[in-house]
């Protein structure tokens, strides 16, 4: 066989124009439409339930809660629908994690598992561009779906806020807010994508995503969120109803005495106001106030709800960008 000289083709020089980004839209859709349809069906079913239940809730609130403090409101509205609202809000906590795990983790894990990355990454598009385009498109779609869903949820839960049954800052509803819910879904997706790239197997990557998400969401709710802005302090006992109580403690003579919970307080009360038979007794707070203690409360006022939503949304967005960038970097340098 004779050695052939390669025919020169136009465009084979260094000034090669890259394959346009927009081509990834079709590719992403065709490859992940099943996952996206799954997300749509899942959120859609939940939305139908929220809508139907929400109509009853709004009706009950409108008929029974004039004023919200009335006994009728307590019986026919909060008594009847409060437990439902609690169950719904607890269940919805898992939704971003589920979307992130089932839509995010397989994106790269499945390519690794089935070997198709050898096909995808040797096409002209280039592997890091392929990864970036795919992840950004999917991330935007799932975050937008979550945002739309959270608007419906805020309509659903609005009567409970109006009746003072729940405050918007409550742990189980804050991250269902319009900004936070989309941001948590985005973060879960980004965690899933990175886990898939690191673990390279779909099922373990899904499990890891759920675990990491649960840890991050719990740590945020328990330790982090209250520090977004410096809490306000007051010695007044009647806080506005929408305030989020962060902590309480007692002082005496301008010095810290003890926290509002714990052994020291119980001990002090039993010393100062020993229980006597036949008297109704004082509450611990009344007892301590009589003996010169001052009760202090630190709290986040309800007016900070939206700043807190944006702060949480902001750092989750930054985290997601970082995680997606890390995933793309791993794809770029990974040795097959």
């Amino acid at each position: 066989m004779t050695a052939l000289t390669m025919p020169t083709r136009p465009g084979h020089d260094a000034r090669l124009r890259a394959v346009p980004w927009r081509r990834m839209a079709w590719v992403t859709w065709r490859q992940h439409r099943a996952a996206l349809a799954g997300v749509a069906v899942f959120l859609g079913a939940l939305a139908v339930y929220l809508w139907l239940t929400g109509l009853q809730i709004h009706h009950a609130y409108a008929t029974a809660c004039h004023p919200a403090s009335s006994l009728a409101c307590t019986i026919n509205f909060t008594g009847r629908y409060g437990p439902t609202a609690i169950v719904v809000s607890i269940f919805l906590q898992a939704v971003p994690a589920l979307i992130g795990a089932f839509a995010g983790a397989p994106v790269l894990a499945r390519e690794m598992e089935t070997g198709t990355f050898r096909f995808a990454w040797t096409q002209g598009f280039g592997r890091w561009r392929w990864t970036l385009a795919k992840l950004v498109l999917l991330a935007v779609v799932v975050a937008a779906a979550a945002a739309a869903f959270s608007v419906l949820y805020s309509w659903f839960s609005q009567p409970f806020f109006a009746a003072g049954y729940t405050i918007p800052f409550a742990t189980r509803v804050f991250d269902l807010g319009e900004v936070a819910f989309a941001a948590w879904t985005l973060a879960a997706f980004a965690i899933g994508a990175l886990a898939g790239m690191l673990i390279r197997r779909t099922v373990p990557a899904i499990a890891a995503t759920l675990a990491v998400y649960a840890a991050l969401a719990s740590a945020t709710a328990l330790y982090l969120r209250q520090h977004y802005m410096t809490p306000l302090h007051t010695s007044k006992l009647n806080l506005p109803g929408s305030a989020w109580l962060v902590s309480q403690w007692y002082t005496k003579g301008g010095k810290f005495a003890f926290g509002a919970h714990g052994f020291q307080l119980v001990h002090a009360v039993s010393q100062l106001c020993p229980p006597r038979i036949g008297t109704s007794g004082l509450s611990p707070a009344q007892c301590l106030t009589q003996h010169g203690y001052t009760a202090w409360t630190s709290y986040q006022p309800g007016s900070r709800f939206w700043p807190f939503q944006w702060i949480e949304g902001g750092w989750l967005l930054a985290l997601s960008v970082l995680l997606i960038a890390a995933t793309v970097w791993l794809v770029r340098r990974r040795a097959a």
Binding site: L4, L16, R17, R30, G115, T116, T122, G124, W130, A335
Partner: protein, 305 residues
């Protein structure tokens, strides 16, 4: 003057503490069907992964299509790779696979791809996962060729195929080679099929290049000598590659041309590619690296480990 379609210098790849490929220096000229042959674990897949940019070298370097770094946009544009077991998206139809590949590349010859699939009897609406093994391999090959690459890299393309599918697959490769002048580099541990298709041979053993050169030149420079076993040791000074001792007769595969004198009482036969490859594979210490490569002479050079 032909360019080198794959050129490596001191190329090495380490996974953990194990070298899958080391000190690999070779130049595969354009215009060949080059066969990369070696036992399992010899480093064939590693070398191909490095050439197509899927893996990063631990040592040395690799360029493709003349002087382009492996994995660069220009390299990806000009090289089509069909990986081992021909991975495809199993839940996509053949038509979707075409559309997907078209979207991911600057060039895609849709009429060629559709014509080929029609000839092969592969329905466009059939999902890739529902196709037979041979059809999946043909679909993967069609996707690769429709990109109009200058280099087609095939990793163990026929290992999983039955003889008929294997024949059809290689026929497609040879047709593309003849029609478009696409260069082909394929790895295989199936020696039987190579004689018909390969005109350039690279033997890899234990992560090192043992033999590299044009098949015609390699066959012309090797002879099988057959003679009495009692005299076999007299030829130790000759460049013997492999000794196969029988009861009365011994076969020596030696480096010699047809013009070299044959000792009295011995017979010389030409060797075929399979015999040659087998002889070297049985003697991982032997080596021959003739053939065109950068700046070096064309004389065979001995490699001793």
């Amino acid at each position: 003057m032909t360019m080198n379609i794959i050129e490596t210098s001191g190329l090495g790849k380490r996974y953990g503490s194990t070298w899958a490929l080391r000190e690999c220096t070779l130049a595969i000229p354009a215009g060949h069907v080059a066969a990369l042959v070696g036992p399992n674990g010899a480093g064939k897949t590693t070398l191909l992964n490095l050439a197509v940019g899927l893996a990063e070298p631990s040592a040395g370097g690799v360029t493709v299509l003349g002087d382009k770094p492996a994995g660069s946009p220009a390299a990806l544009d000009g090289i089509a790779f069909v990986a081992q077991d021909t991975p495809l998206y199993k839940n996509l139809s053949a038509a979707d696979m075409l559309h997907l590949t078209r979207n991911l590349n600057r060039r895609f010859d849709q009429p060629y791809a559709e014509t080929r699939l029609a000839e092969l009897g592969i329905p466009l609406n059939r999902r890739a996962g529902k196709l037979s093994g041979g059809q999946q391999a043909q679909l993967a090959l069609t996707l690769a060729l429709a990109r109009r690459p200058r280099l087609l890299v095939l990793d163990e393309p026929v290992a999983m195929l039955d003889p008929i599918a294997r024949h059809d697959f290689m026929a497609t490769v040879l047709t593309a080679m003849a029609d478009d002048g696409v260069s082909v580099v394929l790895s295989s541990h199936v020696l039987a099929e190579l004689e018909r298709v390969a005109d350039y041979l690279i033997l890899l053993s234990r992560g090192r290049v043992q033999v590299a050169g044009e098949v015609a030149g390699l066959l012309a420079s090797h002879r099988m000598l057959t003679g009495p076993t009692t005299e076999a040791d007299k030829y130790a000074e000759r460049p013997v590659v492999h000794v196969q001792r029988g009861g009365a007769q011994t076969h020596l595969l030696v480096r010699a041309t047809a013009d070299d004198p044959v000792p009295p009482g011995w017979e010389a036969h030409p060797v075929d590619l399979e015999e040659l490859a087998m002889a070297y594979l049985r003697e991982p210490g032997a080596g021959a690296l003739p053939g065109p490569s950068r700046g070096r002479g064309t004389q065979p050079s001995e490699v001793t480990r």
